[in-house]
């Protein structure tokens, strides 16, 4: 049995179902849940490719952190007692059109490239990623860390309530 193919099929289906829920459903909570489902599916896709580390990272970060953060943000601000506003049909049509254009363009560009054939060796283990990070891409690694710190600080500062009349740094 082609486990990779099966895993891929199931995960892809899950991911697409989740994605459709994430963009199509009306309630924001349903969207967030759909998003989590989609990320689980993507993790499964990575598994089918053999990148187990990446799959786990995806689940940890997206499902575990990002989705929860979104729930928090929604809880803090969205007026949940208001009914969802109606969707304008032109907007839906236009969005679908441009999305189709974008997707078609990507498909055409990617398919037109002459990808060199597989060499058979699959260096997708976590260890290999670690090797690359700490040897060739150590600068990128450090920069990502800095970026995360700065993003944290920035997020806190932006969302902070400023006291009226006082300017504290």
């Amino acid at each position: 049995m082609n486990w990779a193919g099966a895993v891929f099929g199931a995960s892809a289906a899950t991911a697409l179902v989740g994605a459709v829920c994430a963009v199509g459903l009306k309630s924001i909570f349903h969207n967030i849940l759909g998003f989590a489902l989609a990320m689980l599916g993507v993790a499964g896709v990575f598994l089918s490719l053999g990148s187990d580390f990446l799959a786990v990272v995806f689940v940890l970060v997206y499902v575990g952190a990002v989705a929860i953060a979104m729930v928090y943000a929604v809880m803090l601000s969205v007026p949940l007692d208001q009914p969802p506003r109606p969707r304008s049909r032109t907007k839906v049509a236009g969005a679908a059109l441009f999305a189709a254009i974008g997707a078609a363009a990507i498909w055409l560009v990617v398919r037109s490239a002459a990808w060199p054939p597989a060499t058979g060796r699959l260096d997708v283990a976590a260890a290999w990623a670690g090797y690359r990070f700490l040897r060739d891409y150590v600068l990128a690694f450090e920069l990502i860390s800095v970026l995360l710190v700065v993003a944290m600080m920035g997020a806190v500062m932006v969302a902070r309530r400023t006291r009226a009349g006082a300017e504290d740094r």
């Binding site: 254009i101 078609a104 055409l108």
Partner: protein, 634 residues
């Protein structure tokens, strides 16, 4: 620079300086302004006298120029002065009459609120006229020609607050403009054919014309300017209307000097005109018709200034007839004497107009005209000169004119010219008798003339100084009319040496005929107007159709109003419509289109982020496909 050139430049510079000083600084100081102008013209007069002594008496000729605009491969544009007997004599005439008129004006214009401005404009005219006379280059002459027209406009419309003078000034300017277009075209053709416009060169080229230099065409075009400026033929109706200006202005510009500029031009360029005999023949006929027509109009006019205006037109025609017949000396001699006695007549009439507050001869007659002694002397002397009674100046110059014509023209023309002389005597003495003989009306006189067209707001009775200022120039000019006649030989030797000339005391057959006609004219005038118990109604005035025909400029103004003016106004209405609707509409439309286009374009910037994303996606998609699939950039 030699003394003569310096004198020529000084003669022009002094009035220019005076004009600038007066109009800029001295507007509020009328007496200083008048003094400045008179001083400047005295300088001009002295310079002109010096020039006459140095140039005209020894009969030399010189041209002094400086190159103003060098042209590669050509002679360039040179301006300067031409110093020969014709130019300097005319300069002396202009300076003398201008000076006399200025002195007279200190009395006539006393109390007028625009007194200083008046003298400024007179100085402007003096500069322009002297510049015209002494110009060595046709373009330079044209510039001064136009300046003289400007001065005329400013002075005719001096009392611009009233509609009549303003309209008359516009009419004068526009009508002479019509002629000036021809003049300009002629000068331009000349420059195109010859490359230069210097007068000596033009005259030399006229006698041996280069190919492409059609002398008759140029002559005809230049004559258009003459016809306009000297009020001949179809372009004469501005001159009677120009009498709306102050009387000294009429004396200076519209009888003695400015209108004579056309005659001067023909005299100046005589070799050119002589090389186009067909054109000269046309001029002869035109001038003849004008002479007779204006004489008929003078016979029925009741405004004393209008009589004199028509008379000026008539005498200008005689000058042009003499020139057309080939005698520069005769034409110019008549110009000189005419300047003297016509100015005299105008100034004398000004004395009467001032006294009676009216231009109408019949009203002047009712205001004790004989009490104005200087006026009476001037009027009578001038009239005798104008009519051509021996020994006054007009007789000699008119004899010279008729004599010159007798040599060249046909019998019909000559006969009509003599007839004109008789009519001149008739209308002149009609004027004298109507003015001076006390009014004994047989029937009420219709008040068909507007009250006096002179300064509003002066005192009833003039102080002695003003009256003296008006009297002395009149008396001086009256004395001149007795003397000027004997200068005929002077002009003949210097201006037309090729033509035969008998001395002033030769009274030939033609002269006797003329004197007889003159006597007849005066007798008829005395019979109809002068003697006690006369009806005071001329033979032409008895026929109402003739009276209205002669009195209304032979209906020429009506003709113009119905045709030229109507068409021009229609054309201007069309142009105005074009300007408002088409041109303004187009530019407004462009502006509106731009605003509208901008509004449409700004719809792109709707602040709607998702729209921006959509556009970005499309562009990237297109770019990607172009680059990878169709092989765009390498």
């Amino acid at each position: 620079m030699t003394g003569t050139v310096l004198a020529a430049l000084a003669a022009q510079a002094a009035p220019l300086l005076a004009c600038a000083l007066i109009l800029i600084f001295l507007r509020g100081r009328p007496r200083v302004a008048a003094g400045t102008a008179i001083a400047a013209l005295t300088v001009s007069f002295a310079a002109a006298a010096f020039l006459v002594w140095q140039v005209a008496v020894p009969n030399t000729a010189a041209v002094s120029q400086t190159l103003w605009l060098p042209v590669q491969g050509g002679a360039g544009l040179a301006f300067g002065v031409i110093l020969d007997p014709l130019a300097v004599t005319m300069a002396l005439v202009v300076a003398a009459i201008t000076l006399a008129v200025m002195v007279y004006s200190t009395g006539y214009m006393r109390g007028d609120p625009g007194f200083a401005r008046y003298f400024g404009f007179l100085a402007l005219f003096g500069w322009a006229m002297l510049g015209l006379v002494l110009a060595s280059n046709l373009l330079q002459l044209l510039v001064f020609w136009e300046l003289v027209g400007l001065a005329s406009f400013l002075l005719i419309g001096f009392w611009f607050e009233r509609e009549a003078p303003a309209a008359a000034a516009r009419k004068a300017f526009l009508m002479t403009r019509v002629g000036d277009v021809g003049f300009l075209l002629g000068v331009l053709l000349l420059i195109r054919a010859l490359g230069v416009a210097t007068i000596p060169d033009v005259l030399a080229a006229a006698t041996s014309p280069a190919p492409g230099f059609t002398v008759p065409l140029v002559a005809f075009l230049l004559l258009m300017g003459v016809v306009g400026k000297s009020a001949q033929g179809p372009l004469f109706t501005w001159l009677p209307d120009a009498m709306e200006g102050p009387t000294p202005v009429s004396a200076l510009l519209h009888s003695a000097t400015m209108v004579a500029a056309g005659v001067f031009l023909v005299a100046r360029l005589h070799p050119l005109f002589a090389a186009a005999p067909g054109v000269m023949q046309g001029l002869l006929w035109l001038a003849l018709v004008t002479a007779l027509a204006s004489a008929t109009m003078a016979m029925v006019a009741n405004d004393i200034k209008r009589v004199l205006a028509y008379s000026s037109i008539s005498q200008l025609s005689y000058m042009l007839m003499a020139l057309a017949a080939g005698s520069v000396a005769a034409g110019f001699f008549h110009l000189t004497t005419h300047a003297g006695f016509k100015a005299l007549l105008f100034l004398s009439s000004g004395i009467f107009i001032h006294h009676a507050h009216s231009n109408d001869m019949r009203e002047i007659a009712g205001h004790e005209p004989l009490s104005q002694k200087a006026g009476v002397i001037g009027l009578v002397a001038g009239s005798l000169a104008l009519a051509g009674v021996i020994p006054f100046a007009g007789y000699f110059s008119k004899e010279m004119v008729l004599g010159a014509m007798g040599e060249k023209v046909g019998g019909v023309v000559l006969a009509l010219a003599y007839l004109g002389a008789g009519l001149t005597a008739y209308y002149t003495f009609r004027m004298v008798f109507l003015t001076l003989r006390g009014q004994t009306p047989r029937r009420p006189v219709a008040r068909d003339i507007a009250p006096a067209a002179h300064a509003a707001g002066h005192e009833e009775h003039f102080p002695k100084a003003a009256e003296a200022a008006m009297a002395w120039p009149v008396l001086a000019l009256a004395a001149l009319t007795l003397v000027l006649g004997y200068l005929g030989g002077f002009f003949a030797t210097r201006l037309s040496p090729a033509l035969p000339h008998e001395g002033p005391f030769h009274v030939g057959g033609g002269a006797l005929v003329a004197l007889a006609l003159v006597a007849a004219g005066i007798a008829l005038a005395w019979y109809e107007f002068g003697r006690a118990g006369a009806l005071r109604l001329g033979f032409a005035e008895r026929v109402p159709a003739l009276k209205s025909f002669f009195g209304d400029n032979w209906y020429l103004d009506r003709l113009y109003k119905a045709t030229v003016i109507r068409w021009t106004l229609a054309l201007s209405r069309a142009a105005k419509w074009n300007d408002h609707t088409v041109l303004d509409g187009a530019s407004d439309g462009v502006a509106q289109g731009t605003v509208w286009g901008g509004r449409i374009l700004s719809m792109v910037q709707n602040g709607f982020v998702q729209a921006y994303v959509a556009v970005a996606i499309s562009v990237v998609a297109a770019l990607g496909i172009w680059l990878t699939r169709t092989g765009g950039l390498p």
